[in-house]
């Protein structure tokens, strides 16, 4: 699915990723945990193609393609989805128009005919139900006036509409209460399949109670310093990140 080799990236003068290696196979759910400032969100941004970051070394192969050479929209069409930590409010642009354009691009890229208005609306209804998103929200402007929980549910709803091959959830649990967390996780779990992989980036173990990972990685100072089974998340929660810092030091 995705193979990251020795990835190095910086913003301005500051190097953040310092030789990151990670391989995710189809159908696997990998969690990336780590203390603040370890590079978790940078990894998500670099994979999605945010231009603020400069890749200074390494390579990323995504389903046989050199990911780093692709524009953000090409990465999306190839099947990479980033659920934003801070989804952007876009006044005036209706969720529906936006989604229709996004789904249209995705289908075109996959050689599929455009959906009829009727089929599109049916799909919206089905997929918004996965995250218990009120039908009215779909008709409002993108994320405008949405609560924190609604924004995150809208991200997972969009993911469900676009049916990516690899979904990166960037701290999707931040700012969520326990009910919203459960709903978001339920949406993600409904989308799990043997062909679809997930990269769940989180600071806390809590989310992983709901989205159970196959593998847990610990990111520290721009590198993966520890990899283990799902129990590693529990161990981290118990011992804290200081334990990692001491181990690495």
């Amino acid at each position: 699915m995705i193979e990251i080799k020795n990835l190095q990236a910086s913003i301005g003068e500051k190097q953040i990723l310092k030789g990151l290696n990670l391989t995710v196979k189809p159908g696997e759910v990998h969690a990336i945990m780590g203390p603040n400032g370890s590079g978790k969100s940078t990894l998500a941004s670099v994979l999605a193609g945010r231009e603020d970051y400069e890749v200074t070394g390494g390579e990323v192969m995504f389903n046989g393609k050199n990911l780093l050479e692709l524009a953000p929209e090409e990465r999306s069409r190839e099947g990479l989805f980033l659920a934003f930590q801070y989804p952007v409010e876009i006044p005036g642009v209706s969720n529906m128009n936006f989604l229709k354009a996004a789904v249209g691009e995705m289908r075109k890229h996959r050689g599929l005919d455009p959906l009829s208005a009727k089929d599109f609306l049916a799909l919206v209804k089905e997929r918004s139900a996965l995250v218990e998103l009120d039908g009215q929200l779909a008709h409002r402007a993108v994320n405008e006036g949405f609560s924190g929980g609604e924004k995150k549910r809208n991200e997972v709803f969009q993911m469900a509409m676009l049916e990516p091959k690899l979904a990166i959830l960037d701290e999707t649990d931040s700012g969520l209460d326990i009910d919203a967390l459960r709903i978001v996780a339920q949406g993600v779990n409904a989308m799990r399949s043997p062909e679809r992989s997930f990269l769940v980036i989180t600071h806390y173990q809590r989310l992983l109670d709901y989205i159970v990972p196959d593998v847990v990685h610990v990111l520290y100072k721009g590198q993966i310093v520890k990899t283990g089974p799902k129990e590693l998340a529990l161990e981290l929660e118990e011992k804290g990140y200081d334990w990692i810092k001491e181990t690495v030091a």
């Binding site: 999605a48 193609g49 945010r50 231009e51 524009a71 953000p72 929209e73 990465r75 999306s76 069409r77 980033l82 934003f84 989804p87 952007v88 876009i90 006044p91 005036g92 642009v93 209706s94 529906m96 128009n97 936006f98 229709k100 354009a101 996004a102 691009e105 995705m106 890229h109 208005a117 599109f120 609306l121 402007a141 993108v142 969009q158 676009l162």
Partner: protein
């Protein structure tokens, strides 16, 4: 340049000596005034940002153009309406190519809009239409003025609207000009007590456009709405000069103009709001916003408020910038091309203005036309 100042009108008058035109007392009065008026130029405050040399150099040939109205109206036998203040309104009066008048009877509510389609095609063609509307007390009516200019031609139009007490008038102006067409349009609105008038200017394509919209609130409790958008590209030029004149108390006005500037285009916005000494309890809001899609586009924007009353609520604002990079990235991260993402953002941006029109047919027409030209993505759902 110097020689063209006073003599330009004389040149046009001479070369159109035998052209069919209406004439009449108003035309004669206009001609005699123009014989002594300087041709507008950038040394005049009102024309500071607007180059007129190419217009002045034109050897325009007055024609009746191709003007269709729905329903059909009788043409006036001579130039109708009032003289107006501006140079080009007077040029229109002096050499009027066609003048229509319509009166909406008292208490009449007419749902079907009155429409004019005014085409100016062909090199050197010069059309000077004049439409005079009187909406009597308590009436309701809608008007659409659809201008289409092509080739190296010139349309200098005048629309005068009188909105009597308690009357309601909705106006849509569609401008669709290509090539080296010059359009000057003077719209004058005079409003009575508790009247409502809303003018929306849709500049789909503006090769060279100068709009003067002047709304005067003469009766208490009246409301003036002004809205417009422009999306010039290539070397196009669009200039909107507006005046809202609050002369009496308890009136409101709301003005919103938005521009999206592509390529090497240029636009001017100058919005004046006067609140006269007696016009207490006025509420006047004005906003001009511009998005720059190119480093080479130019916008000159100048909101002006002149307030002589002390108990009023007024605001004006002008912003010029680029699209939010974060929003663009968000849309691209969902598979939209950079171009498509911008289109979607432009759609939302311009829609706010288009939707101020109360004429659903016009709204749909304009959205469709803009989407066919790849400027916006029309709502489909």
């Amino acid at each position: 340049m110097e020689t063209t100042l006073v003599s330009t009108f004389h040149k046009w008058l001479t070369s159109n000596a035998h052209a069919p035109k209406l004439g009449g007392a108003l035309a004669e009065e206009a001609s005699s005034i123009l014989a002594h008026r300087d041709f507008p130029n950038t040394r005049m405050e009102e024309w500071k940002y607007t180059r007129t040399q190419k217009l002045a150099q034109g050897d325009w040939k007055l024609t009746s153009g191709e003007i269709n109205s729905d329903p059909e109206f009788e043409l006036h036998q001579e130039t109708a309406g009032t003289l107006g203040q501006t140079y080009f309104a007077q040029v229109n009066a002096a050499l009027c190519s066609g003048s229509w008048g319509i009166t909406i009877p008292q208490n009449e509510q007419i749902d079907e809009p009155f429409q004019w389609v005014i085409k100016t095609h062909g090199d050197q063609a010069w059309v000077q239409p004049r439409i005079v509307v009187r909406a009597n007390a308590n009436s309701q009516s809608k008007f659409v003025f659809h201008f289409e200019g092509k080739d190296h031609s010139f349309c200098n139009g005048v629309i005068q609207i009188e909105v009597a007490d308690n009357a309601r008038v909705e106006v849509d102006i569609i401008q669709d000009n290509a090539d080296a067409h010059f359009q000057i349009l003077e719209v004058n609105v005079e409003q009575g007590k508790n009247s409502h008038c809303n003018v929306v200017t849709h500049t789909l394509d503006g090769a060279w456009v100068r709009n003067n919209l002047h709304m005067t609130l003469n009766g208490e409790g009246s409301h003036a709405g002004l809205a417009g958008f422009y999306l010039p590209h290539a070397q196009q030029f669009v200039d909107n000069h507006t005046v809202v004149d609050h002369r009496v108390p308890h009136c409101t006005s709301n003005e919103l103009y938005k521009g999206v500037m592509y390529d090497h285009s240029k636009a001017v916005f100058n919005g004046k709001v006067f609140v006269r000494r007696d016009a207490q309890k006025t509420e006047a809001y004005q906003s001009n916003k511009n998005i720059m899609m190119s480093d080479h586009a130019v916008i000159d924007t100048k909101p002006e408020l002149e307030i002589y009353a002390d108990d009023v609520r007024c605001s004006h604002g002008s912003t010029t910038g680029q699209f939010d990079e974060e929003a663009l990235f968000y849309l691209r991260a969902r598979g939209l091309s950079a171009e498509g993402a911008k289109q979607l953002l432009v759609s939302a941006y311009v829609k706010e203005v288009i939707d101020r029109s109360q004429n659903e047919t016009v709204v749909n027409y304009v959205k469709k036309a803009l989407s066919q030209r790849g400027r916006i993505i029309a709502d489909e759902i």
